[in-house]
Amino acid sequence: MKILRRKRDGVEGDMTPMIDMTFQLIAFFMVLINFTEAETNERIRLPLSELAKPPDAPLDQPLTLQLTDEGTVLFAGEEVPVDGIGPYLLRERQVLESLNKKAADATVIIRADRSAKTGIVQEVIQACQDQQFEKFALRAKQEEAQEIPSGD
């Protein structure tokens, strides 16, 4: 007579490999996540450059101005026309001054759309200069590098 093994209720699979993999996946996504979306905007398609290297150290007193292809500036969550940016920059300068810093110490990061007009970018720079900002960083997206032979 055959002896029937009593089946246990609940099939016991080996969970260890699955949990290993799941933790690995979590670790992978956790490492790659970045929460810096506050300073980026989907509307702006940055120009490409093979030399655009991320800065080694975070900039001191960064101030991000985003310039759309329609010639408006996205700043602090608002969309303002280029000629109306002055009061905002003045406010930033006053904030810096209240922190005992000069506007010249701050770096203005310009994230301009690739098809924005250069003249408008220059107008933004000029508006910043009027508020004594001196350092500018033009932001570009990293592109696949092309080798140039060093011979010539």
């Binding site: 969970m15 949990i19 799941t22 933790f23 996946l25 979590i26 996504f29 956790m30 790659l32 996540i33 970045n34 980026t40 940055l46 120009p47 490409l48 450059s49 093979e50 030399l51 655009a52 290297k53 991320p54 800065p55 900039l59 310039l67 770096t107 990061i109 301009a112 759309d113 690739r114 098809s115 924005a116 007009k117 250069t118 003249g119 970018v121 220059q122 107008e123 720079i125 000029q126 200069q129 004594q132 001196e134 350092k135 500018f136 960083a137 033009l138 932001r139 570009a140 997206k141 990293q142 590098a145 092309q146 080798e147 140039i148 032979p149 060093s150 010539d152």
Partner: protein
């Protein structure tokens, strides 16, 4: 007589409640997958534009700035590049010219470290061409590393829209 269980205690399997942990782990996994976005790295080109008043007292540069002129077509496309008086065909040409003039900036006192580029662009020119020009003059890739050229880049006084119409 008492039956002692102690002898068999080691063989008994301890049942862990896996379900809540797996629930949470999957929730975390789904959160990270949903928020995952592949972003290309972004980098900066530093330009320093001191105020007009400050530039009067700035020490004279040994080499006058190399004037790069970018002309725009009606639609904002690039219509012409020239370095000084010389018209160039492409940004590769521009880079070659700059390399011929200054050489790579290997030492702090080298010509490239001292030299300065002034970009003079039409009002309507698409900004991406400006970045291309800055890329061309500021360095190049060779042997897997960046060889810097001129790092001092500034803009010429802006041209107005009327200039573009007249020209």
């Amino acid at each position: 007589m008492k039956i002692r269980h102690s002898g068999r205690a080691g063989e008994e399997k301890i049942e862990l409640q896996m379900t809540p942990m797996i629930d949470i782990v999957f929730q975390l996994l789904i959160f990270f997958i949903m928020t995952f976005k592949i972003v290309q790295l972004e980098g900066d080109f530093n330009i320093k534009m001191p105020l007009a008043a400050a530039s009067d007292v700035a020490p004279p540069v040994s080499i006058p700035p190399l004037k790069v002129r970018l002309r725009a077509g009606d639609d904002g496309s690039l219509a012409g590049i020239s370095l000084g008086e010389r018209a160039l065909n492409s940004f590769t040409d521009l880079r070659a010219q700059v390399m011929a003039i200054v050489g790579p900036a290997t030492a702090p006192g080298s010509a490239a470290a001292e030299a300065e580029v002034e970009l003079d662009c039409d009002y309507g020119l698409h900004y991406e061409h400006v970045i291309e020009a800055i890329t061309a003059v500021s360095g190049y890739y060779s042997g897997g590393e960046v060889i810097p050229l001129i790092q001092n880049i500034k803009f010429a006084p802006p041209r107005t829209e009327q200039d573009a119409e007249a020209g």
